[in-house]
Structure formats: C-alpha cells, structure tokens
C-alpha cells in the first residue's frame, strides 16, 4: 500500500495537525511501511466473522439519575490557557 504526499496532507487536515515539510515526507515513508505491514490482515478470510465491539459483554449498566456537582468550576478554569471571567477565551470565530 503506497501513500502519497497529498494523502498525508488530507489526513493531517482531518486530524487538525499542522505538519512541516520534513514531517510530511517522513510520514509518507513511515505510514507506507506500516500500512504495508498491516496488509497481511487481508490474508485472513473474515467473511461472516463479527467485528469485536466489546471484549466481555457485561451488559449496559444503568445508574439512578441523581443530581450532583461537577468538579469545581474555578479549578477547571484555572487550567485554561486563556480565560475571561467564567469563560474559556478563544480567538474570534465569527466576523
């Protein structure tokens, strides 16, 4: 499986990653090698085999709907790179 430079750029865009030219170039080779390796899965006939969704089916647990307090708002905002009063501050998104 070969992967092209524009594939790397497209995927980087989906992943919201800015990449340098050197990083793009390295990823073309590295992802190509890894995708080449995982091609071996195609050797296996998986017709009719269900995909694993959960390794141990322990059912879907339900809990009572109880009102509680989220972690301390101040403590959460303390970790914000930029804040303004009780808000996370971000670059302008609407002109």
């Amino acid at each position: 499986m070969s992967i092209r430079r524009e594939d790397v750029r497209y995927v980087a865009d989906l992943a919201r990653l800015e990449l340098s030219a050197a990083e793009e170039e390295a990823l073309v080779a590295e992802l190509g090698a890894i995708l080449g390796y995982v091609e071996k899965l195609a050797e296996l006939d998986t017709e009719g085999v269900p995909a694993t969704a959960h390794v141990h089916d322990v059912g879907t647990p339900l809990r009572d709907d109880v009102i509680g307090n989220a972690p301390n708002v101040e403590a959460l905002l303390d970790n914000a790179p930029e804040r303004w009063e009780g808000f996370f501050r971000v670059p302008k998104i609407i002109e």
């Binding site: 992943a15 995909a51 971000v90």
Partner: protein, 509 residues
C-alpha cells in the same frame, strides 16, 4: 539479610506493612529511605517526572498517626507508591509525558488514585513513560528517556518504564502503570519486577489519560507476586464513573497464593516460541515451565493460530481509538495553546507544537484507518481479526487454566536501537498485544537472567477475570525459585557509581 538492617526501601509491601503494624518501622522512615534512593539514583535513571515529596511527607505523618493509634486503614497504609504520569492526581502535575500537558494540574483524582489515598498509601511521585503511553521503551517521553537500572545503556521497556524502574531500584515499594499493548508486562520483564495487567474491566479507567479505550487497563508493579496481589485487591472493583468496569465482586487475591500448582492446567502456546527469539529467553522460560510441572501442574502445548496477525490488528484498532481520544487536546480548555489568529490555526498549531513524533504518527495512522473509503478495509477488518484472536484464546482455555510464554522475545534492548524504525519498535510487543485485544489478564514475573545479567520475563495469561489462577501459578513458581530476590546493583544506578556501558550487569547471584 536480617530484617533489622535491611534498607527499608528494599522491603516488599507485605514485609513493610508487617513492620509498620509492629511499630518496628515508621511510614516516615520508609518514605525517607525511598526519597534517599531517589536522590541517589535519579540523576542516572530518570524514572520520575515529578517527585511529590511534600505531599508524601504529610501523608506519611498522617499514616504514622493512624499506626500509632493501631488503626491503619489497610495493608497499604504508610506504603510509598509511585504512579505513572497518566493517572490524574488532584493538585499534582500530570503530563502524560507530553509537552501539551506540561503544566496541567488536575482538579480531581483518578478513581484508582482515590482508592490508594483512601487506603492510606503515600503518593511519592509521578513516573516517566512514553508520551500518552505510546511506545515500548519510554524513549518517546517528551522529557527524555528513563534508563534500565540493570544496565544504563538499555531501555526499561515501555510505556510504563518509569514505574517498573522505580520498583526495581527501590525508589518506592510499589507502583501503578497502564497496559494497552504490553505497557506493564514489557517493562516488568525488562526490569526484573512483577507486573500485572488485569482483565479489561477489572479496574476502573476513570481519570486515566486515555490512549485506546477498548484496550487500556490499569495494573500494579511489585517486587513480588504477593505485592501485586495486594495492590490488585486495592484497585479492583466496579466504578460508577467507568461504565466499562465490571460489576463483579472482588476476590481476596491473597488467598490464591499457595506454594503448589496441583491440578493447575498450564498451556504453552507454540506460536509464542518463534524464530529469532533470544536462546537464553527460550531456555529460561522452558525451565520455568518445568518448575511448574514439578509443582504439580499439568502442562500441554496449545495453539493460538492468529498470533501472527495481532500486531497488525492492534496498530489499527489502537491508533483509531487514539486519534479519536486525542482530539480533545485542542488548546482551548487546558493544556498548551499556540499563538494563532483563528480557531482552526489554534488547534493545528497547538497540536503541532504539543505532540511528539510518535503521537503524531499514531494520530495520522488512526485517522487514516477511520477515514472515508478505508474504514471497512482497515478498522472493521482489524476488529474482525480481533474476534478471531479472541476465539483462539477461548479454545485454548477450554483445556487449560493459564497459558505461559515469554513476555518478550529478547531481554532489554539498547537505547536508540529501535527509534529509527517505528515498525521494529511495534514488533517489541508481539507477545503481549494479543492479550489486550482479547481483554485477558496477563502478568510478567522474573524467571532468570541472560549472559549480560539482564532479566528475563515469564508471561502468564489467564481467562477473563481469572486473576486468581494467574497469581496462583506465579506465586507457586516464585516460591520454588529466587529470581525475584535478585535486584540491580545499587552502585550502578547511583550518581557516583561506575558509568553504564555495554555489558554492565546488575548484582549477580
């Protein structure tokens, strides 16, 4: 060595707890002995990213107060424990060994951390690991690699390398790690300690910096099997904050520790003895199997035919989950934010500057595997192969209680040996990864050393929620041998000690 003059940092948890209870030793003395070991060895080993000495000293004082009153909270009261830096800790910096979380101070504790606090454990610090637990050598840490205390030019294994080293070097009495593809068992094997990866769902994942949520599991490192059992008992159990944690009762794991293996059915998977494995690893593991047989175990060969496909399936499933989990690091609510004019640029640059090369590689691979046109061919195919791997184990466990195999095909490799080729590094996990894909419990215990004095790991694999059989087999083996008593030479790790060059081993028998 007599008990009275033994360095307290070299005690097992069980032995230390007994001395604490009898008031022959204080929690403060144990902690200071560990902090002294940290001061002497850290310049070389770099197992810790944060040493929380002040917090630990106040916890040790409180523990000593309870012990004085004869009211310890548990066997862990006053015992210094280290945490891989992916466990969020209230008020203590948690980085996941990543620049993007370099200054993150969590406002809450992981459930497992809270359970340790409730039981009186002393939290001595946060250990180094591969960034976001992605790696097999601890070389992917943004803050520099950790070194193997048996030979400083070797890696400790990864991703929980710092936790394994901290236990091996007596910097703490026990430690926690996480295991997504072998990240507890591989470093345990490379560092000559006991590491246990519980069944998926046995221990809460709440408050663990997520890597691959269908594979991640929390587990302990200890100096011996009993210590691992003690820690597992403290950690295990349902957590309402983790809906994948199993609502099953927690056995008294220490009760499973008996010095015989009568009637235990042990399977040896033939695919785990592959071409190219280090001959000393193979002979060490085969000798260990013979020991189990002499203790009453019935040994037979089994087959796990889909083993050769596990690494490929893993690197699609794990990276797909990682690409989704790591989308949260966007520079908005916490973590590093790069200067940018638009929101989109903020995301892209914060992630560009905050993530290391391996993390980017896995995000890219996972995003690719999930993207339109490739989802069925890669992600769904891998999840189907995962089913085949699970069925292999189901069949093997129809005829046995535990499987035994090497933890890794070789002993610890050299720093830098595999960093140039990601795929070679991925293949270090070839013998541990299937266990995560199948959600099974696995364990690594020391079973010998190679010609260079590097530890060899024996891997035990159990049925879902079959930790008791694992512990029973491991304990019986341990009682019949003394590999677990072998520790690295303290002089080698000390700042004033000889430089670590090729061939520098630990203390030999």
């Amino acid at each position: 060595m007599s008990a009275s003059n033994l360095d307290p940092s070299r005690l097992t948890i069980a032995a230390a707890a007994e001395r604490l209870r009898r008031r022959e030793l204080s929690a403060g003395e144990i902690l200071e002995a560990c902090l002294a070991r940290i001061a002497a060895t850290e310049p070389r080993l770099r197992a810790f990213l944060t040493v929380s000495g002040e917090l630990a000293r106040s916890q040790a004082r409180e523990a000593d107060e309870r012990l004085r009153r004869g009211e310890p909270r548990s066997v862990l009261d006053g015992i210094p424990i280290a945490l891989k830096d992916v466990f969020v800790t209230r008020g203590v910096r948690t980085t996941a060994a990543s620049r993007i979380l370099e200054n993150f101070v969590p406002p809450y504790d992981a459930t497992t951390v809270a359970r340790l606090r409730e039981r009186g454990a002393v939290l001595i610090g946060k250990t180094n690991c591969d960034e976001f637990a992605m790696g097999s050598s601890t070389e992917n840490s943004a803050f520099g690699p950790t070194r193997n205390p048996w030979s400083l030019d070797r890696v400790p294994g990864g991703s929980s390398g710092g936790s394994a080293v901290a236990v091996a070097a007596g910097q703490c009495l026990g430690a926690l790690g996480t295991d997504t593809g072998g990240s507890i068992r591989l470093p345990a094997a490379y560092c000559g300690v006991v590491g246990l990866k519980p069944t998926y769902g046995r221990v809460s994942r709440q408050g663990i910096v997520a890597y691959a949520s269908s594979l991640d599991q929390v587990g302990p490192f200890g100096a011996d099997v009993r210590d691992a059992a003690i820690l597992l008992e403290a950690l295990a159990g349902h957590d309402p904050l983790d809906s994948t944690s199993a609502p099953l009762p927690v056995p008294r794991y220490q009760d499973a520790l008996r010095p015989e293996a009568d009637g235990l059915r042990v399977g040896v998977p033939r695919e785990y003895f592959q071409e190219g494995m280090q001959p000393e690893v193979e002979s060490g593991v085969r000798e260990a199997i013979a020991v189990l047989e002499s203790l009453g175990a019935a040994v037979e060969m089994v087959s796990l035919p889909h083993t050769p496909y596990a690494v490929a399936a893993y690197y699609l499933v794990a990276t797909a989950e990682a690409s989704s989990n790591l989308a949260r690091y966007d520079g908005i609510r916490y973590g590093r934010r790069a200067a940018a004019k638009t929101l989109l640029e903020t995301y892209r640059r914060s992630r560009e500057q905050g993530f290391g090369a391996e993390v980017k590689r896995r995000i890219m691979l996972g995003t690719y595997a999930l993207s339109a046109g490739y989802y069925d061919a890669y992600y769904v195919k891998a999840q189907k192969v995962r089913t085949l791997i699970r069925r292999d184990f189901d069949r093997a466990f129809e005829q046995c209680d535990v499987l035994v195999a090497p933890t890794a095909p070789t002993t610890a490799f050299r720093l830098g040996e595999k960093t140039a080729d990601p795929l070679t590094m991925y293949l270090s996990d070839v013998l541990t990864i299937s266990v995560n894909l199948a959600g099974l419990p696995g364990m690594s215990i020391p079973c010998g050393v190679d010609g260079g004095g590097l530890p060899i790991g024996l891997q035990l694999i159990g049925k879902p929620f079959g930790e008791e059989s694992l512990l029973r087999a491991a304990y019986a083996y341990e009682q019949a041998t003394d590999w677990h008593e072998l520790r690295p030479d303290p002089a080698l790790c000390a700042a004033q000690g000889p430089a670590g060059g090729p061939g520098d081993g630990g203390a030999r028998r």
